[in-house]
Amino acid sequence: MSLNYTSDEMMTIAAARKIRNGAPLFVGIGLPSAAANLARQTHAPDTILIYESGTIGAKPSVLPLSIGDGELSETADAVVSIPEMFAYWLQGGRVALGFLGAAQIDKYANINSTVIGGTYQKPKVRLPGAGGAQEIAANCGEVLITLRHNKRAFVEKLDFLTSGGHFEGGDSRSKRNLPGRGPTAVITDLGILEPHPETKELTLTNVHQGVTVEQVVAETGWALKVAEQVGTTEPPTERELAVLRDLNERTARAHAGQQ
C-alpha cells in the first residue's frame, strides 16, 4: 500500500525519527514541537520535552501555539524561572538535543533568524531575532535544524549570523570552545544533510522518496556536496502519519473557536 503525504509531513516525521528515547530535548514552537511530540507519541515515549518558558518534562496533548501555553506548565515535571532555565538547564549542559528552525542556512549550518536584505539597521525584512537559538546552538549536546529547502533559504552567504553552527568549518567550532557539538543534521522537505566529519561542510546523505539528488542540488544556493552513497528516506509509516495528523487536527481544534 502506498500512502499519500505532503513533503512537510515527511520533513516532520524524518525529524522525529532522529529523537532518541529518553533524551532531554529543547523544543521550539512549530515544526520542532510537532516532531518532538510525534516522537513522544511513537518510538520515544520517554523523551523529555523542555520548552524555554521554563517547563521541564512537559507532556502536551496538543501542540502549543506559544512556547508557554498553559498545558505545558500543567503537565510538566518542574516549572522553573527563565533565568534558571537558561543558566542551570541549557547552559548547565543538561540538554542532549536542540531543535532549530531558520530563515537562512549556509554550508556550515550557521543560521540566520534576524534580518533579510538591506542592512542590519534598515533591513528589508526584520525577523523576530535570536530568542534562545544562539544559546541552544552553543550549549545543547547536538542540534538538529529543520527548514524548507530552497535557494532563498540555503544561501552561499548569510545576511546575518544569528546562531553558530560549524562557523568556517573544520575545527573552527571546537576552537571557539563551545560546549555542544553543534548541528549534526539538517532535515528538509527534500532530504537530509549532514556535516562532513572533517570539513564540517553540509553533505547530502538522504533524499526523501520521489526526490532526486539533482533537485536538491538545484534548490541549494551553493555547490552542494553529495555523499557517495545517498540513501532514500523510509516513507512515513501508517502509524507515524496517523499520529501526526491526529496531533495536528486536535491542535487546530484546540486553538480555534476562541474570540
Binding site: G54, S66, R126, G132, S163, R176
Partner: protein
C-alpha cells in the same frame, strides 16, 4: 555607581487604580520593562500607557509581543531592547517591523540580545551587580551591532565568556494572579523573568487578577513581599489575550486575529482608536471588544 539600596526608596505597596499607577510611575523618557513570558503578560497596563500617551519610552522585554506592537505603533517608543520580537506561533509583529524597516510612525532604536543574555541582565540587576556572565554570543553577528555585549576572561581558567550589563529599569510592570491586602504578590505557572525584572527596577506596578485576604501560598511559592512592590492594581482579566493560569486560558485566536488588525497602518490606527484610546479602562476595552 553601585546601584541604589532600594530600602531607601520604597514605601509600602500601594493599592491603587491602574490609571493612577501608570500616571504616577511611568514618565515620558523612562526605561520601562513590561515583562511576561507568554503567560501573565501585562496587557491592561500596556493599554493604559497607550491611553495616557506616554512618549519616548525605552521598552525592555525578552519577548516583545502584541502589546509592544501596540506601544510602538502608537508612537510611545523611542528604543526597544529585546531578544525575540514576534507574534508567537503566528508570525511577525507588523508594527515593530514597520518601525524598524520604514520608520513608521517614527524611527526606533534597536538594542538586540539573545534570551540568555537578557535573562542574565535582569538577574544582574536584581542582584545589584553591574553585569552578568554567560556562555553565549561567541561567533555571532549580534556582537557586531551591540556594543553592550562584551567578552571577559575567566580569572581561573582563562576561558572567554560573554558579559552583559545589568538591566535597571525605571519601572517594571507585570501581571500576577493574586495579591493580598498588604500588597504581597503571588504568581505561579510559567513565571518567566518577572521576579528579577521587579527586583531590578527602581519602581514597579503589579496588576493582579484578584486581591484576597490571605494568599494561602504553598511552601516556596513565588511571592514578592509587599515592601519590594510599588503599585498593586486589581485588573480582572488584565493579561488578555495572554493567560493567567488558574483563571483563564490563552486566547490563541486573538493572537491570530492581531495579524490582520496590525498588518496595515490604517486598520491598526482605527482599531487602537476604538478599542484603547476611546475606552476609559480595561473593563470598557473588553466590552467594546466583545461588541457589548
Amino acid at each position: 555607581m553601585i546601584g541604589f539600596p532600594s530600602w531607601q526608596n520604597r514605601g509600602l505597596a500601594h493599592i491603587t487604580t491602574l490609571s493612577q499607577a501608570i500616571r504616577e510611575s511611568v514618565h515620558d523618557g523612562d526605561v520601562v520593562a513590561l515583562e511576561g513570558f507568554t503567560h501573565l503578560i501585562p496587557y491592561a497596563a500596556g493599554h493604559e500607557i497607550v491611553r495616557q500617551g506616554k512618549k519616548d519610552l525605552t521598552v525592555i522585554r525578552m519577548t516583545p509581543d502584541v502589546i509592544y506592537d501596540m506601544l510602538i505603533g502608537s508612537g510611545c517608543v523611542k528604543k526597544i531592547v529585546f531578544s525575540w520580537g514576534g507574534n508567537p506561533g503566528v508570525g511577525s509583529l507588523h508594527r515593530l517591523r514597520d518601525a524598524v524597516e520604514k520608520d513608521w510612525p517614527k524611527p526606533i532604536e534597536v538594542e538586540e540580545h539573545a534570551h540568555a543574555g537578557m535573562a542574565a541582565m535582569y538577574a544582574a540587576g536584581a542582584a545589584n551587580l553591574p553585569f552578568g556572565v554567560l556562555r553565549g554570543y561567541i561567533g555571532t553577528d549580534l556582537t557586531k551591532y551591540n556594543n553592550r555585549i562584551k567578552f571577559i576572561d575567566c580569572p581561573f581558567t582563562g576561558e572567554k565568556l560573554a558579559a552583559v550589563p545589568a538591566h535597571r529599569p525605571d519601572v517594571t510592570v507585570i501581571h500576577a494572579q493574586k495579591a493580598d491586602r498588604k500588597g504581597n504578590v503571588q504568581m505561579w505557572g510559567v513565571v518567566g523573568v518577572q521576579k528579577e525584572a521587579v527586583l531590578a527596577a527602581k519602581r514597579s506596578i503589579v496588576t493582579v487578577e484578584e486581591i484576597v485576604d490571605d494568599l494561602q501560598a504553598p511552601p516556596n511559592a513565588v511571592v514578592l513581599p509587599y515592601w519590594v512592590v510599588g503599585h498593586v492594581c486589581e485588573v480582572k482579566g488584565g493579561a488578555f489575550p495572554s493567560y493567567a493560569q488558574g483563571y483563564y486560558a490563552r486566547n490563541n485566536a486573538f493572537y491570530k486575529r492581531w495579524d490582520d488588525i496590525s498588518k496595515d497602518r490604517e486598520t491598526f490606527t482605527a482599531w487602537m482608536e476604538k478599542h484603547i484610546k476611546n475606552t476609559k479602562d480595561f473593563a470598557e476595552f473588553k466590552r467594546v471588544l466583545e461588541g457589548k
